[in-house]
Chain length 343, copies 2
DNA sequence: TCGGATTACGCAAACGATTGCATTTAAATA
DNA sequence: TATTTAAATGCAATCGTTTGCGTAATCCGA
């Protein structure tokens, strides 16, 4: 044993007076080693707590076998949806014998580039990523595919790249939710969405719009706002309720925003859901904590994560052809609770 | 370039008619290579998008330099406190040039052992871990230290090992919180805690007990319950309130449990905080979502994560001696909100 | 013009494993 | 007993880097 370092095959070979090759074969149960020797070597290895050096193994195999580390880039960590996704990825990965290497982009383009660099250097076998908000150049992603590292996008996909992706069915999720509001008697439904340059925001808006049309209603621009967080919601909602013809329902792009609305609306003395209905999107921790509990669209982050990991691993293992762009859509589910009326 | 694989130094050397050694030195800006050659090689490398194979680098350096991957074991991922910790670890690690490898133990001993094995094989330079609930044997941890892999515990520490650790000041946090309840007029304060075989549970209970003593009150066993989740809280709280002398305040071991209490107490018609005060522990998402908002002890997961990563990296880099067991305590902070009266 | 100091490079041995091929040894066959 | 054959092992190259040491080539001053 060199220093206090790990025991290597060389050590075993020396101590037992055989060659390294023999040790290697014995430990991999090769039949070309005699039973006695094989057992002796295996026992010695066990007793001396030998375990192979993966670095060396990988170097040797780098031509044929990729590593078993999956890079995961998340915009945020302390976030219900993203930690659900991480959870799904971890579950799928570990059950198939992969490790995950996690990095947080903090929604920053520069950081995203750094991370890609680091992951490339660390020889991850593939990367699962949700693009940072301010990313508008894609060279770092292109370098990855050029280097033969499969890429799977989730949540915020890269429009410029025809890569594999898994997204949530934002359109149908919103359409169903807004339909529910209409069918329970809401007439003027406000929409709080994110900035429209993100696909996901656009899809949700379209779902909202089409739900109105489907029910013969018209779109009132004054009811549509860009607002995707609680602080903004608390700031702009009072003015909404002061309109001469205020909304009798709100659809918010996430639970956090919905909670902001709920807080204000309750403070103003409206009864939820009788006078004002509210629907969120996520179904995270918050949804069952507020009073009344929040009706919301379940986003199924864990499922998104699992699908993403499944695609990536299939790409890595060749079950899916390397140049294939697999696109999956995870169905949402409307969870009815106390902030909307029930039919 | 071999196949569609990565460009190696060997390729550069061949194409430029120099030796691999020269390429290596040129790329590392060694002064022993002439300027022209150095620049030519660097340019060629840049143009052909060369990047070093970290696997090989590491193998070469394995004697002296450890890897730069930190293993992190968390019991759960979709969990405010743990994701905060992960966030802190990620921040500290990435700012110091380390990657993190994350695995979820799911509170299972078997899984924990598997993970340790996998991480050992993957040559992480150290491991940050919160023990799973049902772990009672510690051989897997001992093997790690025997293999020279530094270990840092957080949250649930391993009592059998004198390892580095960072914990939250559960005792003082609880003592202060309960003191606050007393000082705002509460007389009968119930305590919902976790099973006492965990240090963290015991410390919080002691804080509760000592706060009572400090204020000249006595401990009423009928007010102490083992309960650390919402479902249980909703189940047992009605009975508590039906006691002939019901509590006028609750201290809960986490926010989730506190929310359960709040829900029941409100449903039973009590006014919070006037008739019943409630205090939680965590200060996660939930705390500002419920109505009234929750007074709670801020657990500062991000700080815990940062400290843990700092210790581990210091251990790895030798700033702290390898056999040193660094023990840090992160101070908590009482956050006053609507579920308790204010002085 | 020559010896010694630079300068600029190559050789080859590591790091820890795997594996095709050669070689030894023992057993089986003629 | 000589020869074939199978079983058991070793040799050495390989994966992509790094680095100590050796050695041409160049330069300097005397």
């Amino acid at each position: 044993m060199n220093d206090n370092q790990h025991l290597t095959m060389k050590d075993i070979a020396r101590d037992l007076g055989v060659s390294v090759a023999t040790v290697s074969r014995a430990l991999s149960d090769s039949p070309s080693i005699s039973r006695e020797r094989r057992q002796a070597i295996q026992q010695y290895a066990r007793e001396h707590n030998y375990f192979p050096n993966v670095i060396a193994e990988q170097l040797r195999h780098s031509k044929r076998n990729p590593s078993r580390a999956i890079g995961v880039i998340v915009p945020e960590l302390v976030h219900y949806y993203f930690s659900s996704i991480l959870d799904g990825i971890e579950a799928e990965a570990s059950s198939r014998g992969y490790q995950i290497m996690v990095a947080k982009s903090n929604e920053s383009y520069e950081r995203e580039v750094e991370i890609c660099e680091a992951m490339l250097k660390n020889k991850v076998c593939g990367i699962i990523v949700s693009q940072a908000k301010d990313t508008e150049k894609y060279d770092h992603f292109k370098r990855l595919v050029a280097a033969g590292v499969p890429l799977v996008f989730y949540d915020r996909i890269c429009p410029a790249l025809n890569a594999s992706r898994v997204v949530v069915d934002d359109y149908m999720g919103t359409l169903n939710a807004v339909s529910h509001l209409i069918e329970t008697g809401c007439q003027r439904i406000a929409f709080y969405g994110a900035s429209m340059n993100m696909m996901i925001a656009k899809n949700r808006f379209n779902g909202y719009r089409d739900a109105l049309y489907k029910h013969g209603m018209t779109l009132d621009e004054s009811l549509v706002r860009i607002c995707d967080n609680r602080a903004d919601a608390e700031r702009i909602t009072p003015a909404m309720m002061r309109m001469e013809n205020p909304p009798d329902a709100f659809f918010a792009v996430n639970d956090e925003t919905a909670i902001g609305i709920l807080t204000v609306v309750k403070r103003l003395g409206y009864i939820v859901p009788d006078e004002v209905s509210i629907c969120g999107f996520t179904n995270g921790f918050r949804a069952t904590v507020c009073d009344p509990m929040l009706t919301t669209v379940e986003q199924r982050g864990t499922q998104v994560g699992k699908e993403a990991a499944d695609i990536l691993i299939s790409l890595v293992e060749g079950t899916l052809p390397a140049d294939h762009a697999e696109k999956r859509i995870v169905k949402t589910r409307l969870v009815l609770r106390g902030t909307t009326r029930h039919p």
